[in-house]
């Protein structure tokens, strides 16, 4: 664990998120506070329906809180407009999904290239970056394979490469090993930890699995809309 403290990169204050379904109101996050230092690997745990995905989506800027504020790298993203948020997300966040969400008709290379297509960089620079991240995840020899020709673990590596290719400050992952066998899961988790360490990325990972959480350097539990530091077990 890190001894000296780094600057705070993610800061949530009084964060509340409510969903309205007819007359019933669900409030998975209620007055939640969170401060996360730069470069940390955080595991978010908690029972099903406790709001882990909801919190992750708010951090990633694809969902917004009902009230309260969230500041990332000194920018209050809860005040941004939808389009500002989209632009910010493209530069600052790498999202890793449980079900990889690769585009089936595109090759591994083309999938990784996607986030760069809308950025102002040259073709050769783009190619360099895509090859570089594919190498980081160990898939340079599979880049012309389609998702259906890859194993689940390999698909998730492609997804990690896609999340990394824009060189974002923060990686978020929603149960990235939830669909994988134990060996592949271990593989992905150590890759994440190593990338976080080598590239100084801040990582927020949602998981159900205590073993997966052990790869992180900090675990928080979501209970009744709030975060609790120590394991309730």
């Amino acid at each position: 664990m890190k001894s000296q403290s780094s600057p705070i990169i993610i800061s949530c204050r009084n964060l509340t998120k409510s969903y309205y379904k007819g007359d019933t109101v669900v409030t998975p996050l209620e007055n939640l506070d969170l401060d996360l230092e730069k470069g940390r690997f955080l595991a978010l745990m908690g029972p099903s329906g406790s709001g882990k995905t909801t919190l992750l989506n708010i951090i990633a800027g694809i969902d917004s809180p009902t009230s309260g504020s969230i500041t990332i790298n000194n920018q209050e993203i809860s005040r941004m407009s939808r389009s500002q948020l989209t632009r910010w997300r493209g530069k600052s966040i790498g999202y890793i999904f449980q079900l990889y969400h690769l585009i089936p008709v595109l090759t591994a290379y083309e999938n990784v290239e996607l986030p760069l297509l809308i950025q102002k960089i040259s073709r050769s620079e783009r190619e360099k970056r895509v090859l570089n991240v594919l190498e980081l995840v160990g898939l340079e020899d599979r880049m012309s394979h389609f998702p259906r020709q890859l194993s689940g673990g390999q698909e998730q590596r492609v997804a990690i490469a896609r999340a990394l290719v824009t060189d974002p400050m923060i990686l978020v992952a929603d149960e990235p090993t939830g669909d994988l066998d134990a060996a592949s899961a271990q593989n992905i988790l150590s890759l994440l930890r190593q990338l976080g360490h080598d590239l100084h990325k801040t990582i927020v990972m949602v998981t159900h699995d205590v073993k997966a959480a052990s790869y992180a350097d900090l675990t928080l539990h979501l209970e009744k809309g709030k975060l609790i530091e120590s394991s309730p077990l």
Binding site: I62, T86, I103, L117, T166
Partner: protein, 382 residues
């Protein structure tokens, strides 16, 4: 520029859904083929009946007669018409047609006095052959390009139609599309061969000095023969043609609605394909949004897909239509006058732009659906 990247991305996506793309393309091709063919017909009709403003030709016909078989005027009227002030030149013309009703393969012979050919020939240009060889043979014919191509004849060949055999002395091209579907013969030869007899003609073409005199000279001509055995009816050539092919024109013009229907079909087809492909990819678009794709990017991805389908299908459809018309040498005739179907580059350009535009519009509605939904909900889709 990102738009080029998205263009090639969209192309890759279309290529990797080959069956869906091909089926949609087939529909677009059929629709645009229909639309462009009808456009070509409309344009050809316009060009066939259109005679330029500086054109100052009157047509003198037998009053109350509409078919060239029925219009018989004494050739001797020529001298009387020539004396009317403002008349520059009078051409007595005998017309024989192999089929007087509406038909796709009509051959029209026009007989013109040999000594008038020198001044008459400025109405066309020779593609092959010569005027002199026409003058030398009494059974010689100058044949319009479209007629020659349709019958596959060249200079030196024989042409058989309406029971008359002529020898081809030249092939002609003309801005006046009527000239493309006729054979010009010696007047006396045609009069004898058609058993109409010497001294009788179908009509007179009268060239006047100044276009603005056309109306008064027409009246003067009709007044001259009012109490003769064969009274005349004189109109500008354009009005004459327009009236002769009125029914053909109506037929062609009614095709316009079919053209519009074809366009609507193309629009609905492309729009539907895109809508379905978007429905199946709701999550894909949500993923792209998560990766930082803004509405403008998604808009162009969808719209480019429509434009590509529209342009590819449109291109094939209009090439098909153009070659059908070009190699088919179609003419639609009535009363010895024809609508000659010709392909103009302008029509093809309009076809291409239309299909691009349709593809663009077809992509707009589906895009609105994508960009106005919730990312988080769409990520959970399927």
């Amino acid at each position: 520029m990102w738009i080029w990247n998205l263009l090639s991305l969209t192309f890759v996506q279309l290529r990797r859904h080959p069956v869906r793309s091909m089926l949609t393309l087939l529909g677009v091709i059929a629709g645009m083929f229909l639309f462009v063919t009808i456009e070509i017909m409309q344009n050809s009709l316009r060009r066939s009946t259109e005679i330029s403003a500086e054109d100052a030709t009157l047509v003198v016909y037998r009053q109350n007669r509409f078919c060239p078989f029925a219009s018989r005027l004494p050739q001797s009227y020529e001298q009387k018409i020539a004396k009317i002030p403002g008349v520059r030149e009078v051409y007595p013309i005998q017309i024989v047609v192999n089929n007087c009703s509406t038909s796709l393969d009509v051959v029209t012979f026009r007989g013109i006095p040999k000594n008038k050919m020198d001044s008459f020939q400025k109405n066309f240009t020779l593609l092959s052959g010569s005027i002199d060889s026409w003058k030398q043979r009494s059974d010689a014919a100058l044949v319009g390009r479209i007629l020659a191509e349709r019958r596959r004849i060249k200079v030196g060949d024989k042409l058989d139609a309406a029971g008359i055999t002529v020898s081809v002395a030249g092939i002609i091209e003309s801005d006046n599309l009527q000239n493309l579907n006729v054979g010009y013969l010696h007047l006396d030869y045609l009069q004898q061969a058609s058993r109409v007899g010497l001294g009788i003609v179908t009509q007179f073409n009268v060239l006047v000095d100044r276009p603005e005199q056309m109306e008064s000279i027409a009246h003067a001509i009709d007044d001259t023969f009012r109490y003769d055995q064969d009274p005349t009816s004189t109109r500008p050539e354009k009005a004459f043609i327009a009236q002769a092919i009125e029914e053909v024109a109506l037929l062609i013009q009614s095709g316009r609605h079919v053209g519009w229907a074809a366009l609507i079909t193309v629009f609905a087809l492309v729009s539907n394909t895109i809508l379905l492909s978007i429905r199946g990819r709701v999550r894909e678009y949500a993923v792209l949004q998560t990766l930082g794709y803004e509405n403008i990017h998604l808009l162009w991805m969808v719209v480019l897909e429509g434009m590509m389908l529209g342009m590819l299908g449109g291109l094939v459809g209009l090439l098909g239509s153009a070659s059908l018309v070009y190699f088919g040498h179609f003419t639609l005739s009535a009363d010895a006058l024809s609508v000659v179907f010709t392909v103009e580059p302008k029509t093809l350009a309009i076809g291409l732009v239309t299909s691009l535009l349709l593809g663009f519009l077809a992509g707009l509605v589906p895009t609105w659906c994508v960009t106005h939904q919730n990312i988080v909900d769409n990520l959970r889709a399927e």
